[in-house]
């Protein structure tokens, strides 16, 4: 190996004593009585009030007592224990770890948006106070309609899974209004776990449908489960196998024939944006994960935003409030939608995330968005072609934004997908998604995104080929990986058995 991405932060482990004594400590263990992280203003009012003892706290909250530098150094050092897009190649399939432009962070911190109280537009005449924010929302909804072919959007859902739940509640409201007796939602077996979970929470039973040998939905099996009791079908397009479903139009016809609703899970919209629109191809409702297609930061696991788009059939059921444009060109919030499912979030969505997405869309514009899709798909196919000699492809055909391999051959040598993942960590690469989708044994799902350059991908490919060689030459060495990180493999069984989830208590 002549080249690698380098291990972790050089020098970090140089002095093990320092590492253990200072760097591995919890902030609570650095606490010293009397230290303060920031000062509050001295009271300028001549009043000292007291909470009646019946209502007062008996014991102090044991928050850490540290100086500002203690806190800054602690959390800076902690941050350095993470792999991130800014620091590492992060081909985590299905999660779309594309670059997060810095200027959108600035947009989210514009004071006149950041400091805006969400209750202001609910005051009498208060909409006048928030015209800028309402305009952003209105325009973003319009842009999303143009991109997806839907008639209306709500920006309220607070994450993709929340968007799914909202979409299914819209589906339920539709069936209720028509007096339809519906029980089931059909979901392909390749779907994200959130699909069945969302359907179940909305009160539906789910029917899984298998994929055929090409990774498409098996139409024969689908036909068998379609009855008048089917409320709808949830599909991710392209699928979580990274494949574009060839038979969408037929599937939509079959579902609509029983007055079912076609739900588009927008998790992979980034693969087709500008190349096809869910609203044009038979779908009735969809959600968008802004952190995937519109590159709002993943934040170590949120916050996200999950706008939901619908066609005319479902529009009147959208949650309130909705942004409307007055005849004089000003904007307002309206609650006057009697068929609305109601409030699904406290306010208008995760506004600061929506603002980032808005800036990204404005900057790229029509051609930029199409190019983005093109290069996401180009990069994925490039890696797929170059690696398929070494790792078994789950489906050997042109893929979209990601490709799914199976480490089954390597597993026969005793090296599993997870072991290869851990090897990659030592090579300075965040592992691809492993063990998903569930229907591919030893799955390794690779999504480079359009952000990555050919040289970076070439290096990654070399390292993967090297990993394959190592599985032949010394499969036993994989058990030790990773060895360059702040920790080696953690004992997850112990974590679940001897549960400790707070500094203050062992369960």
């Amino acid at each position: 190996m002549s080249q690698s991405f380098g291990g972790w932060v050089a020098g970090y482990l140089g002095n093990p004593k320092f590492n253990v004594r200072i760097l591995m400590k919890l902030i609570f263990e650095k606490s010293v009585k009397g230290r303060r992280g920031f000062g509050l203003p001295v009271s300028d009012v001549p009043v000292k009030a007291k909470i009646p003892s019946k209502y007062a706290r008996a014991n102090d909250a044991e928050l850490p007592e540290v100086s500002e530098l203690d806190a800054v150094r602690h959390y800076t050092r902690l941050s350095q224990k993470n792999f991130s897009i800014d620091t590492h190649f992060y081909p985590l399939g299905s999660c779309t770890m594309k670059y997060n432009p810095k200027f959108t962070e600035d947009l989210a911190r514009i004071g006149s948006f950041m400091n805006l109280h969400p209750l202001l537009p609910q005051l009498a005449g208060g909409e006048k106070l928030t015209q800028g924010a309402l305009e952003v929302m209105h325009h973003l909804e319009q842009l999303m309609c143009s991109m997806t072919g839907f008639d209306a959007f709500t920006l309220q859902p607070l994450a993709g899974a929340h968007g799914e739940l909202t979409g299914i509640m819209l589906m339920a409201a539709y069936h209720k209004s028509k007096g339809n007796k519906k029980r089931y939602i059909i979901i392909p077996d390749s779907a994200h776990g959130t699909n069945p979970a969302s359907a179940a929470i909305a009160g539906y039973e789910t029917i899984p449908v298998a994929s055929d040998k090409n990774g498409n939905m098996d139409l024969v099996k689908l036909k068998e489960v379609i009855t008048d009791e089917v409320a709808g079908l949830m599909m991710t397009v392209p699928s979580t196998l990274g494949l574009f479903e060839n038979n969408i139009d037929e599937i939509a016809k079959m579902i609509h024939a029983v007055d079912g609703i076609m739900y588009y899970d927008g998790a992979n919209l980034n693969a087709v944006l500008g190349r096809c629109r869910p609203g044009d191809i038979g779908f009735d409702v969809m959600h968008i994960n802004t952190h995937k297609t519109f590159t709002t930061p993943h934040g170590g696991g949120g916050p996200g935003a999950g706008p939901v788009g619908v066609n005319k059939k479902l529009e009147k059921f959208l949650p309130v409030s909705r942004v409307v444009k007055n005849s004089d060109g000003t904007f307002a919030l309206s609650y006057d939608f009697p068929d609305s499912i109601g409030y699904i979030a406290p306010f208008y969505g995760n506004f600061a995330l929506l603002l980032r997405a808005y800036g990204y869309i404005l900057m790229l514009g029509k051609q930029g968005l199409i190019d983005t899709t093109n290069h996401a798909v180009l990069n994925a196919n490039y890696i797929k072609e170059r690696l398929k000699k070494y790792f078994k492809l789950a489906y050997d055909r042109i893929c979209m934004h990601e490709s799914v391999f199976s480490a089954s051959q390597q597993a026969d040598r005793g090296v599993h997908a997870i072991d290869i993942a851990k090897y990659l960590i030592d090579q300075g690469i965040h592992p691809p998604t492993v063990y998903f989708p569930l229907i591919v044994p030893e799955a390794i799902m690779i999504e480079p995104t359009e952000s990555e350059s050919k040289p970076v991908m070439d290096l990654f490919i070399d390292i993967m080929i090297e990993a394959d060689r190592l599985t032949r030459e010394s499969p036993e060495s994989f058990k030790e990986f990773p060895k360059t990180m702040p920790i080696t493999r953690p004992d997850e069984v112990k974590a679940a058995r001897d549960v400790k989830t707070s500094y203050f208590l062992r369960v």
Binding site: A108, I110, T130, A197, A199, T206, P319, P490, V499
Partner: protein, 444 residues
């Protein structure tokens, strides 16, 4: 020019050759001609500078010059600069869910510290790594209580945020749950009304402290009776108030949720916010959301991992405790940093400062003829005043004088049209309060 795509035309060509196709269009053959977009009507791209300028200009159409006295569960607290500086580190905000713990110890340990701080703040045993917001967290708590008790009747006090109550109703409208709302009496939860409905079919009683009217309470007596019928007590709390107020843990609550915006998050016109949830240790396996646990690595060193994942959707699918995939990790880290900087003494001081300023304002408002300050129950940093005329009209007049004077309770509580809900944080100065009082006198 698209700075987010690296490939040059030459590289693109090389890659197409490797793939064995002539053009990028060939990669989209699976999208049949009939499935192509009917239109893709979007504006031309702009430069970074043009976008920043345009969005900044749109921001100017918002009015943030008003001196804010609006709360309603979302408060204008000071956030020290170090908080934003730290969460602006790319290693935190451009990482994802810690699926590979060895290269995500930063996020995992920070979340463990967040959970710990929430536990000591609420005096509960265990907390999760966050939920979307205080309202959806309360919904998740309600569902958790329904799962634990296998009952379906919910009693919710009228002092619980009306926004939260609307959210709960939306999520349960198509399910078969009995939902009873009880009124507040003298600003506090009505014991009589709650007990009237409390029975062995009850899954949960939901209360809030301080409640939406700003009133504080000790719910221990209610909770004791809730436990007698085998139901669970759910308490929604305002975390800053816990610097001084009796904790839900001390009152005996079973599940505690709340909105963590006040712990270091900007108002952001409604989000992202921070839902938190804490519970008793015996219920940890029924709790939704991600949970970070401590363990050891193969060399015996302390390590942090996502734990008890058998509850979650990616394993359990339709049998999961919740459909939540993402939580709001970055917001949780943000508040963990804020709480660490605030510290044990800072929390008490902050709460005291809020209490004192609110009390000062109440005293000043009481002196205005025709204004009645409700004193029947104690409050923290938010309180209701009864005006001689419709609060909405008064708010409109106060906007002209430069104040966001408060929230009109009549919007959510019919019959309370003259009630104005006023919030005072540590950021309001004595002078701002006196100016407000003067302006109000002129308006009335």
């Amino acid at each position: 020019m698209n700075p987010y795509i690296a490939n040059t035309p030459e590289e693109t060509k090389e890659m197409l050759n490797v793939i064995g196709v002539n053009s990028i269009d060939d990669l989209f053959v699976d999208i049949k001609p009939g499935l192509r977009p009917k239109s893709f009507d979007l504006p031309q791209g702009l430069s970074e500078y043009e976008v920043v300028r345009r969005v900044t200009d749109m921001g100017l159409k918002n009015n943030i010059q008003l001196v804010p006295f609006v709360g309603g569960g979302y408060y204008d607290h000071y956030i020290p600069s170090a908080v934003d500086a730290l969460i602006s580190r790319g290693e935190f905000y451009t990482a994802y869910t810690p699926y590979q713990p060895e290269c995500a110890q930063g996020t995992l340990q920070s979340l463990f510290e967040f959970q710990s701080s929430i536990c000591t703040l609420t005096e509960m045993d265990v907390a999760n790594a966050s939920l979307y917001d205080g309202g959806t967290a309360l919904y998740e708590a309600m569902m958790m209580a329904i799962r634990i008790t296998d009952r379906s009747k919910i009693i919710i006090d009228g002092g619980v945020s009306p926004i939260y109550r609307k959210i709960l109703k939306t999520y349960t409208s198509h399910l078969h749950y009995e939902f009873i709302e009880t009124p507040v009496v003298h600003g506090q939860a009505s014991r009589e009304e709650i007990l009237k409905h409390l029975d062995e079919k009850t899954a949960a009683v939901i209360i809030q402290n301080p409640n939406f009217l700003g009133v504080i309470d000790d719910h221990a007596d209610i909770i004791e009776k809730v436990h007698k019928v085998g139901a669970l007590a759910l308490s929604s709390v305002y975390p800053v108030s816990l610097g001084l107020l009796k904790t839900p843990g001390a009152m005996g609550a079973d599940i505690v949720t709340g909105e963590g915006q006040s712990l270091g998050l900007p108002l952001n016109f409604g989000g992202p916010y921070l839902g938190f949830m804490a519970t008793r240790k015996k219920y940890i396996r029924k709790m939704p959301g991600r949970i970070v646990g401590e363990t050891l690595d193969t060399q015996g060193r302390r390590a942090f991992v996502n734990t008890l994942q058998a509850r979650e959707q990616h394993i359990r699918r339709e049998k999961a405790t919740s459909n939540i995939c993402t939580n709001v990790s970055l917001c949780a880290v943000q508040s963990a940093i804020y709480m660490s900087m605030l510290g044990k003494e800072g929390l008490k001081e902050l709460a005291q400062l809020n209490l004192d300023k609110a009390e000062f304002m109440r005293q000043a408002l009481e002196k205005i003829k025709g204004v009645q300050v409700k004193r029947s129950s104690p409050t923290f940093n938010e309180f209701a005043v009864v005006l001689p005329k419709d609060a909405s009209l008064v708010i409109g007049e106060m906007i002209k004088k430069g104040f966001a004077a408060g929230f009109p309770l009549g919007r959510y509580y019919p019959g309370m049209e003259k009630y104005l809900l006023v919030a005072v944080t540590e950021k309001r100065t004595r002078q701002e309060i006196l100016d407000y009082v003067k302006a109000l006198e002129e308006v009335l």
